[in-house]
C-alpha cells in the first residue's frame, strides 16, 4: 500500500473531464464524481438533498446537468451515510459539523488536485441547501466560493411546517377564486384549517403531507408538464445503488440525526453570508415554501443576491423547469465566476 504525502503537482484540466475519486474523513469514505469542462476552471460543488435518503445521483441524472457539464465542471458526491458512502460509523459521527467538515475536505481536495486558482461555486438542494448555508456560516469558509446557489434549502427548519400549512391554504384560495374544482379545494382548506400551526405534532405533519399530495392531484399538469415529473434518479447505469440508498434509512443513526436537522434555525446568523447568492424555490413546494426562500433572501448579508420563484415547480425546480433553471444558473455563474 502506497502512502504519498500531500501532492504539489496539479492535475490537467481538459474540456471533457470524467474522473472519480474518494474523500475520506475519519472512518467515512465518500465517492466523488467529476464531470465537465475543465478548461473553464469553474467547479460547481453539488450538495444533494436528504439527509440520509439522497445521493449525488440526484444532480448527476438531472436533465440540466449535461448542459452544465459542457460549460463547467460539475462535482457530484455522496454525503456521509448516504448511497455509496461507507465506513464504520457511530451515531455520534452524524452531526452537522461532521457534514461541514466533509465539504471542507472536498474543497481542499479540489484545490489540491486542480490548483488554487479554480473558481468554486456551491449548489445545494433541500437539505443540501440547508447544509451549504451552515457551511458558509462556518469560520471563513465562504471565502473559498465565488457564489452559492440555494435550491429549496431552508435556514429555519421549525418554520417549514408552519409555512407548509400556510402555502396549502394560499394555493387553495387562489384556485377557489379562479373557480377551479371549488368543492375539492374547499375540502383541503377545511382539513388544513383544523391544524394548530403553533403546535404541529406528528399527526399534523402526516396530515400536511397527505394534503400536499391532494394539492398535487388537484393541480394536475398546471404544476409542470408530465415529462418533468420527478421520478427519482435512475440508478441502473449510474454510480448510485438503490438498495444501499434505502438500507441507510433503517440505521439507528439516521433517525436521531433527522431529529437534530428538524431543529436547525440559523436565520439570525444569515447576515454573515456576503458572497453572491442565487435562491431558487418552487411556487408549489409546500415542504419548503417560497416564503422560506424570502426569509433567506431578506436576511442574508450578501449585497448581490437574487431570488427566483418557479411558477410551475414544487421541490425540484431543477428537474421541473430545467430550461429556466439552467438559464438563471448559468447567468449567475457567468456573472461571478
Amino acid at each position: 500500500m502506497v502512502l504519498i504525502s500531500s501532492c504539489k503537482k496539479e492535475e490537467a484540466l481538459s474540456s471533457d473531464m470524467e474522473e472519480q475519486f474518494y474523500i475520506k474523513n475519519g472512518n467515512v469514505n465518500m465517492p466523488v464524481w467529476i464531470d465537465g469542462n475543465g478548461t473553464s476552471k469553474t467547479f460547481i460543488i453539488t450538495v444533494h438533498g436528504g439527509p440520509i435518503l439522497g445521493s449525488g445521483n440526484d444532480f448527476y441524472n438531472a436533465t440540466f446537468a449535461e448542459e452544465m457539464e459542457e460549460k463547467y465542471v460539475m462535482v457530484y458526491w455522496d454525503q456521509r451515510h448516504t448511497a455509496n458512502s461507507h465506513g464504520h460509523l457511530k451515531n455520534e459521527d452524524l452531526t452537522v459539523d461532521a457534514f461541514i467538515s466533509d465539504i471542507r475536505l472536498l474543497v481542499q481536495t479540489l484545490k489540491l488536485k486542480y490548483g488554487d486558482d479554480i473558481s468554486l461555486f456551491l449548489m445545494g438542494h433541500s437539505w443540501g441547501g440547508m447544509l451549504a448555508t451552515n457551511y458558509l456560516l462556518k469560520e471563513s469558509y465562504q471565502g473559498d466560493f465565488k457564489g452559492w446557489i440555494n435550491i429549496a434549502g431552508t435556514p429555519d427548519a421549525p418554520q417549514e411546517l408552519i409555512e407548509s400549512a400556510k402555502l396549502l391554504l394560499t394555493i387553495s384560495e387562489e384556485e377557489i377564486s379562479k373557480g377551479n374544482k371549488v368543492t375539492e379545494w374547499q375540502d383541503l382548506v377545511n382539513t388544513v384549517s383544523e391544524i394548530d400551526t403553533n403546535n404541529i405534532d406528528k399527526v399534523a405533519e402526516k396530515t400536511l403531507a397527505d394534503q400536499e399530495n391532494v394539492m398535487f392531484d388537484l393541480l394536475g399538469d398546471q404544476r409542470y408538464p408530465e415529462q418533468y415529473r420527478y421520478k427519482g434518479a435512475s440508478t441502473l447505469f449510474s454510480p448510485a445503488d438503490d438498495l444501499l440508498l434505502f438500507s441507510n434509512l433503517i440505521h439507528s443513526g439516521s433517525l436521531e440525526f433527522l431529529e437534530v436537522v428538524n431543529k436547525i434555525d440559523v436565520v439570525d446568523d444569515l447576515y454573515k453570508i456576503t458572497i453572491p447568492t442565487l435562491i431558487q424555490f418552487g411556487k408549489y413546494d409546500s415542504g419548503t415554501s417560497p416564503v422560506i426562500g424570502q426569509i433567506l433572501y431578506d436576511n442574508i448579508g450578501a449585497p448581490e443576491k437574487f431570488f427566483d420563484v418557479y411558477q410551475h415547480s414544487d421541490h425540484f425546480c431543477f428537474t421541473q423547469e430545467p430550461d429556466l433553471f439552467l438559464n438563471n444558473t448559468i447567468n449567475f455563474i457567468e456573472t461571478y465566476k
Binding site: M1, S5, F21, N29, H81, H86, G87, L89, L236, S247
Partner: protein, 193 residues
C-alpha cells in the same frame, strides 16, 4: 494492509483444512460469474466439503430425496467500475436436495465472509493536522452475511451447472448494515485426488 494479511491467512487456513481432511476424496471445484447486484462483474471460485449425506423418503408418493449437508469455502471478487471493487473470503453452510434419479437440485444456504472493499480511484484522506494526503489504495473490511438459494443440474457425475441468488448484508456498515444482492452463474467439476 492488515485486511490483506487477514485474507491471506484465512486462505491458508482454508487450504490447510481441506488438505488435511482425508475423508474428502473428491473435491468439486466451482467457478462462477459473480455479479454484484447482478450486473457489476466478478468471479468466484470455491469448493464443497460434504459433511453428511442422507436420504429421506416420502412414503405416500414413493419419492426418495437425497440431502447433503456441506460447507463451501469460497474466494470471490467483483468490480463496480464507477464506485468500488471488492475481494471476498466466504464460507457457506447449506443443504443440497435432489430427488432420486433426477439431476436437478436446489440448495438453500447461509454464508458468512470477510469482504475487503477497495475505493475506486485515489482516496484523499483528511489528516489530524488538517492536511490532505492521498492514498492509491484504500480499503475497508466488513463482515458480510448472506442468505443464498441455488439451483443446478448435475450433467454428469463430474460436471454440474448452477445459478445462485444471494441477499447479502455488510455488517457494521455506516451505523447499521447494508443490503445488496449477488447473482452467480457457474459450473462445478470434480478433481480426483
Amino acid at each position: 494492509m492488515k485486511n490483506l494479511n487477514l485474507l491471506i491467512i484465512a486462505l491458508f487456513i482454508c487450504y490447510g483444512a481441506i488438505s488435511q481432511e482425508s475423508k474428502f476424496k473428491e473435491l468439486p471445484i466451482s467457478v462462477s460469474y459473480y455479479g454484484y447486484n447482478a450486473f457489476d462483474p466478478g468471479l468466484k471460485i470455491g469448493t464443497q466439503l460434504q459433511l453428511k449425506t442422507w436420504k429421506k423418503t416420502k412414503r405416500r408418493k414413493d419419492i426418495i430425496k437425497h440431502r447433503t449437508l456441506f460447507l463451501s469455502p469460497q474466494l470471490g471478487g467483483y468490480v463496480n467500475l464507477k464506485n468500488h471493487s471488492a475481494l471476498l473470503l466466504n464460507t457457506e453452510l447449506g443443504i443440497e436436495t435432489s430427488k432420486m434419479n433426477r439431476r436437478f437440485y436446489n440448495t438453500p444456504s447461509l454464508g458468512l465472509g470477510y469482504l475487503t472493499q477497495f475505493n475506486s480511484g485515489i482516496t484523499y484522506s483528511l489528516q489530524d493536522d488538517g492536511s490532505v494526503k492521498k492514498k492509491t489504495i484504500s480499503t475497508t473490511g466488513y463482515l458480510m452475511g448472506t442468505l443464498n438459494y441455488e439451483i443446478g443440474q448435475h450433467i454428469t457425475q463430474n460436471f454440474t451447472w448452477f445459478t445462485k441468488v444471494s441477499l447479502a448484508s455488510k455488517l457494521f456498515y455506516n451505523t447499521g448494515f447494508s443490503v445488496s444482492t449477488f447473482l452467480e452463474l457457474g459450473v462445478k467439476f470434480k478433481l480426483k485426488r
